[in-house]
């Protein structure tokens, strides 16, 4: 059974159809990449999957671990194992990072009927994971994403993924805004989280990320449709010829 199964998905934003029928299956442990020109609907797909208000599914179905998530609210989808690393992480002034992280993790534990994690052991876990991603103690003390640089915000997203251990993670342009070294650190962080029971959908514009996080499949999204799928060599093709070449081929 696939972890994520998107069937003939159409979706609209503000009454305007953006996704025109998407089919995509991701098996356990697989990493798929989505590439595509600006405005092709990549972020829209990630929001539709994670249940953002205003992103209306008009047709088709989405199964997560075999069950439809169409009727679930965003928070319920997250608790069923879906995770979105935002292209533009949101600042939460006044919300302390630690309590935010703990509330997220505890919501999942509660859902599974497991005991909530106490503050002290949680701080230890967070410190350990942060270290791997080069996140400083000072950053952990600040309000969520407030005053973080673009690259710091992206690392913080991956930290959350590491803590929440989702079965399906969508990474929306996690590489944008990262310098060369940070890209390496973040990719290594992501690779550490690759697991036979966990799948990932990596949205990116650059082959560079995919040379670190090697995908099992690459899909090209254009104007709300997947116009081509292939293996990792497809990303190289895009890098060389641009999307125009792909269109011709299709």
């Amino acid at each position: 059974m696939s972890i994520l199964d998107i069937k003939k998905l159409t979706a609209s934003v503000d009454g305007k159809e953006i996704l025109h029928g998407i089919d995509l299956k991701i098996n356990p442990g697989e990493v798929h990449a989505i590439m595509g020109p600006n405005g092709s609907g990549k972020s829209t797909l990630s929001y539709v999957l994670s249940g953002r208000m205003g992103y209306e599914i008009t047709g088709g179905d989405v199964l997560l671990n075999g069950e439809s998530i169409m009727e679930l609210e965003a928070d319920e989808r997250a608790r069923s194992g879906l995770f979105l690393a935002f292209q533009y992480p949101v600042e939460l002034p006044g919300v302390s990072g630690m309590s935010f992280l703990r509330a997220s993790v505890n919501s999942r534990l509660r859902e599974r009927g497991e005991e909530e994690v106490d503050q002290l052991s949680f701080v230890k876990i967070v410190r350990a994971e942060s270290k791997k991603l080069g996140i400083s103690d000072d950053m952990l003390k600040r309000a969520v994403n407030v005053g973080f640089s673009g690259g710091e915000k992206k690392r913080y997203e991956i930290l959350q993924m590491a803590l929440l251990k989702p079965s399906m993670a969508i990474l929306d342009e996690t590489d944008s805004g990262l310098d060369v070294d940070a890209l390496k650190i973040v990719s290594e962080g992501v690779n550490l989280l690759r697991h036979p029971d966990r799948s990932m959908l990596v949205i990116t514009h650059y082959q560079r990320l995919l040379s670190h996080i090697i995908p099992d499949k690459v899909h090209i999204l254009s104007e709300g449709r997947i116009i081509k799928s292939g293996d990792k060599s497809l990303a190289l093709e895009v890098e060389e010829n641009g999307y125009a070449g792909i269109n011709d081929a299709a």
Binding site: A78, G94, V95, L164
Partner: protein, 413 residues
């Protein structure tokens, strides 16, 4: 020692005069510019009389006790000497009417035509003055004033004056938790030169009660006064503060949080008088309104001609949780000096959808997410409180309100 407040005589010519002024001017109407936003019609229609006996228990949902504080409890506006403890403190307590100097200060007050001022001075059954002379002590003692009262259809009118001697320090916590039809206490704090006072007022009364308390402050040279007001209780409530900067180099900081739901009307009114040069004032107000609640902030800063080099700042922000709420802000600057810096600003907003979605995408249920964002909105203002014990009290009431408020919204969805 405590005076014999039981034998305190109410009916004297002075109180009579105040009652007469009240009767002559009557309740304020909405034509009165000062009361434009706050109508007392709902209050005036209720039948009630001035309470004569100390009755009523303290509300059971109060924040946990503060240790080592000096507690003074007023039931129905009457000082209850049995329940107040003067632990290890050396405060001097007297009857205002037997204290010539206190009496003179009140008579000199500029509030001659203020309805609540006159009503309470005329109707008060207890009027006490506490002197704090502790310039040598390091840790400021805590005075707690509880205004409770168990009887509806009655009104309570206590008067408390706290005088800080030269360089004295004291922290004051007021808790207003009565169920009286009307609770209208006056708390007057007089700061002598160099004295320091942190003053927190928690107005968390029952929703059937109207709360019209007055806070009067006068500051001497170099004194430092910091006030924080939480107003979340009552049906109609108005927390009105008049502050006079009478000595140079004095500074004051006023912050307030109001939280309203159902049909509550919450008014925060401040009147700040810069009477001399080189003083600094700062005001920070945050409000959260749900259901059909209405919140008002009226802040007047008056800078006298001689009050050069005044620095007066005012900032208010309201968060509206429902479409039917209303928040009004009325800043007033009356500046008669030329070398001053004064500013004010106001914003009104809703809970940010992007922030809610971000929290939801992490699995946090909506109500918990909303609570987190409401508390985040208030946290800066809450942290203006310098006394940790007081901050805990206020935090307790805020959390209580937020959890109640968000739970109610789930039911109505």
């Amino acid at each position: 020692m405590l005076p014999e407040l039981d034998k305190f005589e109410v009916k004297n010519y002075w109180q009579r005069a105040h009652l007469d002024s009240f009767l002559e001017l009557g309740w304020p109407s909405s034509k009165n510019e000062e009361w434009k936003f706050t109508s007392l019609d709902r209050l005036i229609k209720k039948p009630f009389e001035i309470a004569l006996n100390p009755e009523g228990d303290i509300k059971y949902k109060l924040a946990p006790d503060i240790k080592d504080s000096y507690k003074l409890i007023f039931r129905n506006g009457i000082f209850d000497s049995h329940t107040s403890k003067n632990a290890a403190h050396n405060f001097t307590i007297n009857n205002v009417l037997e204290d010539a100097s206190a009496f003179t200060t009140i008579n000199k007050s500029f509030l001659k035509n203020h309805p609540i001022f006159n009503l309470t001075l005329g109707a008060m059954r207890s009027a006490i003055v506490i002197d704090v002379d502790n310039a040598s002590s390091d840790i400021p003692p805590i005075i707690e004033l509880y205004f409770t009262g168990g009887l509806i259809e009655q009104s309570s009118h206590p008067f408390v004056m706290i005088r800080l001697g030269k360089n004295a320090k004291v922290n004051i916590l007021e808790t207003h938790c009565s169920v009286n039809s009307l609770s209208a206490p006056i708390v007057f704090v007089e700061l002598s030169d160099g004295s320091v006072c942190d003053h927190v007022k928690c107005q968390v009364a029952e929703l059937n009660s109207d709360q019209l308390g007055l806070t009067l402050i006068s500051q001497g040279t170099g004194s430092d006064y910091r006030n924080f007001t939480l107003s979340s209780g009552g049906n109609i409530s108005r927390s009105e503060l008049h502050l006079n900067l009478n000595g140079e180099d004095a500074s004051c900081h006023l912050s307030a949080i109001y939280l309203g739901n159902k049909d509550q009307h919450i008014d925060i009114t401040t009147r700040l008088h810069h009477n001399v040069a080189n003083c600094k004032s700062e005001q920070v107000i945050r409000g959260v309104l749900d259901d059909r609640a209405r919140g008002i902030f009226q802040g007047k800063i008056r800078v006298a001609p001689e009050a050069q080099k005044t620095d007066g700042q005012q900032m208010t922000r309201a968060l509206l949780l429902s479409r039917e709420t209303e928040a009004d802000t009325k800043p007033e600057l009356e500046i008669f000096a030329d070398d001053v810096i004064c500013s004010h600003g106001a914003t009104i907003g809703e809970i940010d959808e992007h922030q809610l979605f971000y929290l939801a995408s992490r699995g946090i249920p909506e109500m918990e997410a909303r609570s987190m964002l409401i508390e985040a909105f208030l946290i800066d203002t809450l942290s203006e409180i310098r006394v940790p014990e007081f901050e805990k009290q206020v935090e307790y009431y805020i959390q209580e309100w937020v959890s109640q408020s968000t739970n109610l919204s789930t039911l109505t969805v």
